[in-house]
Symmetry: C2
Subunit: 377 residues, 2 copies
């Protein structure tokens, strides 16, 4: 086992470059696993804080530096993965931070680094550890909480994600003293996370429910079950390409396994069944229309000279639906899913090796898609 820890030096730049944008098969984008026709990926996130330090939004700069140094050291030496990559985000270039957001390794807030009233002045000291090369595990340090342990799985597998998250949690806890109350459980900066500190999320692809105008029903039902629906890029992001992230809202007073059981055996399978039913009905009633839309989307992707990321996501979503439904034999839906990542602005610029303004990105994105899809039949 080796650990990469050049971030210990004064400069954390360049670490992100170790992520191979061309070849890496990112866990959450593999497009395999249980119910993967509807569930793109599963995620478990544990919020943890260190005893004896104020929460990040209340912490002084020196507190934060201290927490960051401590966590970086313990995480990199906890034997969490074959290889852990460490990135000091306060030293990382904006485009590298965006790249990590696009890969779902850090939150948008963590990329920005503005936490609360106590913040100001130079960049907040903060970082992220990423398990390489599959990025199935990432640990944010000094986000809203001192530690945010995040484990991803392709398809629908919250149980296995929780298993790994618990292992990671245990290994870290052996080296760090967590803020814990016998009455409330794990203490967190935001009360909604107190208790288990666990959030379960699944990324759902719901194009048929969208076409059937049934998304609002799903949203209402989710609200009734205290679930939040977010977009492809989490909190505050819009649903693009018919992808919806469904997650539990509160953790206080519920044991992890109850939360897990609800998500794993009740809620998600029901939504999946609902989407599958809508797909079957679509195909039965207007299979020609679904194929038409999927192929048109492919046609646009293969021919356009200018393309926004929103439109690309919409087109890729339609192609993915067509592929998953078996209507497009020549299409590898894992390739389609991979394209959803590389058409994002930071990926696009990193792949091109240069900064691009919005107009250049639109042209570059269209070029990339044409190249990638040229050989598809």
């Amino acid at each position: 086992m080796s650990t990469d820890a050049p971030g210990r030096g004064p400069d954390g730049q360049g670490q992100v470059r170790q992520i191979d944008l061309h070849r890496s098969r990112v866990e959450w984008l593999r497009g395999e696993g249980r119910l993967s026709d509807v569930v793109l990926s599963s995620r478990v996130r544990l919020a943890r804080n260190l005893a004896g330090f104020p929460f990040p939004n209340r912490a002084s700069r020196s507190d934060r530096v201290c927490v960051l140094d401590l966590c970086r050291d313990r995480i990199l030496n906890a034997g969490l993965a074959e290889r852990m990559l460490w990135i000091d985000l306060h030293h990382a270039a904006p485009i590298d931070r965006s790249l990590l957001v696009e890969r779902h390794l850090i939150s948008k807030q963590h990329a920005k680094g503005k936490l609360g009233v106590a913040s100001g002045g130079p960049e907040e000291p903060r970082g992220v550890a990423v398990a390489m090369p599959h990025e199935q595990l990432s640990i944010m340090v000094n986000e809203e909480d001192h530690l945010r342990i995040q484990v991803m799985r392709t398809g629908f597998d919250l149980a296995d994600a929780l298993r790994e998250a618990d292992e990671v949690d245990d290994k870290i806890e052996r080296r760090l003293d967590y803020a814990f109350s016998p009455r409330f459980g794990y203490l967190t900066a935001c009360p909604t996370n107190v208790g288990t500190g666990a959030r379960f999320s699944v990324m759902l692809h719901l194009p048929a429910l969208k076409m059937a105008n049934e998304i609002d029903k799903v949203k209402r039902a989710a609200g009734d079950m205290a679930l939040a629906i977010r977009g492809f890029y989490g909190e505050g992001s819009e649903a693009v390409g018919d992808f919806y992230q469904l997650s539990n809202q509160t953790t206080l007073g519920k044991a992890e396994h109850f939360l897990l059981h609800d998500m794993e055996h009740e809620i998600i399978p029901r939504v999946v069944e609902y989407e599958r039913l809508a797909r079957r009905q679509l195909v039965e009633r207007r299979g020609d229309l679904v194929a038409d839309q999927a192929y048109r989307a492919l046609g646009v992707l293969r021919h356009a000279r200018l393309m926004s990321s929103e439109e690309a996501m919409e087109c890729l979503s339609r192609v993915r639906l067509g592929a998953v439904l078996g209507l497009m034999p020549g299409i590898d839906h894992q390739h389609v899913t991979h394209l959803m990542l590389v058409i994002q602005p930071a990926h696009l610029q990193r792949l091109a090796g240069r900064e691009m303004n919005q107009a250049e990105r639109r042209a570059g994105r269209a070029d990339l898609l044409r190249r990638e899809l040229a050989s598809v039949t």
Copy 2:
């Protein structure tokens, strides 16, 4: 010289089958000639009536039969072309009539065959003669007037179209007695055609003026000059695919050569210059956008599984613009123009060899376009 005259028998069916839909290079769709970047085709139409017979809308059935027999015989024996095809429209299948409309060989009204108060009962006796194989000349018998001589040219060449129309007119006049008034000129069923009986039309492709929202200006200017703007299929048809047919409205009191001079040297060149300017501005300001739209249209044409004729025309129009502007090196704009014809409902069904309802046509049209454009790069 040979003439085809099986229409003289009791049954005119089957004649339309002699038109080769696959190979014929129809004159008005050749996409060549003067100003052909903007002017698809030019047309001269002469309205003529026989002396001693009521106009068709006032004629009895036996009058019409008499006119038809007379005209058919004279036309087929006037040496008008290497080979003239004759079709008795009252015996032709509806799909064959539609096919002739789509080829701009007869008007919609002539296909329908309902003329006026005197009509009723069985199909109106009426027909059309077509010069084969290029269809540059067609003569409708018993349309609004007894004779409608129509000559087409690719690109902008009203003068040559008029030259041939006059030749044809002279040859027919040698064999038939026209209704002519020394004071008014040629007499016609509708007063707007009295005089020369000539109508000059050009089919213009004005996508840039459309994009620049300048079409209304063209329409106003045309109205001021007593010109009518019609759609791709003449009177009462909508402009599809940014094609507009511009023609003079009145013929009374104007000599042919004045009319021709106005159209040939004043009006049309001005509209063409206006469209060209709009294209130059488009390319200078947003060349990337024009290419993007053209390629997207091509992408849709090459991938869709269902397509209406309206959408096909719009897409083909955009591709034609891209090709004419030199933005799409792999595209032969003559091929694109040819496709505008074969995607029309009757052509589609004749090419498929079977009747199709609207849904089947949408699928069949998309299939045809995919096949035709598969090898385009």
